[in-house]
Symmetry: C2
Subunit: 186 residues, 2 copies
């Protein structure tokens, strides 16, 4: 589907709106959305004073990290962009070639796992939590460069055990799901 | 149990024997075995021309890496010290504080997972293999500095699916087990 180009003013207005709805859209995604070159998107952002994705993620992440109890911010694999302690959380991991097999440029499973596991631990409302059991499924191979959005939810709590489900997406596609049982320790 | 010290000649002879049986004993383990200081062990190794653990692991690993088909040697988390392609493999990961939670100095689960998953992939006799499903259990927390020995075994093969079990030990204690279903891709 090729969309008709719109004029600059209209495009910049829509671009601002779309980024308000989803601040984690990549320049590539915006480029396709508006059917323009990546340079045009970069210039638009520059003129509108909208920082690049990495900076946008960071500024959201800084707010959320301060709420986490179980682990330090730098110990989370990916950037934590939303947290509702004891309930849910979202993190974003921008993958690159270093995380992938050289032969195929497919992201190695343990990187996807690491993002999910550290997010599962981060959402727990306790001082220390460790993974007890994990049951994970890789549904679609992830290419280096794709942006992983992991969403965690605490589904049950029983004594010092926490059942956390994590679903990881690339765009609208679910690429991974993990079911974790975490144990909090005094 | 405090063992009686033995004389230097006898100790060096026994030390050589023990390292022939298990080339991956740490200086700390040898120190306790012979009830001497770590300096004594280091001097013994120097006099006997036995390189340090890291070098011993490396020289064994170099031989084994060349047999792996699915992934590059540097893509394996830990050092691969034994491989029987399509059947089994062993890798060693020396943990450190960087792999652990700052708060507790306990090794983060995803590092233990990464060693197991990459070993499971390495033992597969195919050109490309990806993880489909993993079911893992963390049995005993691992302290930073402990040496993880992972042993993988291909238990079943069905079409392009491989069932691989990995058991990870610290000394004699099993700290982790993972059941992986891997998929080979053409």
């Amino acid at each position: 589907m090729v969309r008709k180009r719109i004029n600059k003013k209209e495009r910049q207005q829509k671009l601002t709106e779309r980024l308000k709805e989803d601040p984690f859209l990549t320049d590539e995604e915006l480029m396709q959305m508006f059917n323009v070159s990546i340079q045009t998107i970069r210039l638009d952002r520059l003129e509108l004073g909208i920082p690049e994705l990495r900076e946008r993620i960071k500024s959201v992440a800084e707010l959320t990290y301060s709420k986490v109890r179980t682990i330090g911010g730098t110990e989370i694999v990916g950037e934590l962009v939303d947290i509702n302690l004891g309930k849910s959380g979202i993190s974003i991991l921008e993958t690159n070639e270093n995380m992938a097999f050289k032969k195929t440029s497919l992201v190695r499973g343990h990187n996807i796992y690491a993002q999910a596991e550290s997010l599962a631990i981060a959402v727990i409302d306790a001082d220390v939590a460790l993974t007890g059991v994990a049951n994970v499924k890789y549904k679609i191979p992830v290419k280096a460069g794709e942006k992983l959005i992991a969403k965690a939810e605490v589904v049950r709590e029983r004594g010092n055990k926490y059942f956390v489900h994590v679903f990881t997406y690339v765009g609208q596609n679910q690429v991974f799901r993990g079911k974790f049982i975490l144990v909090s320790i005094d």
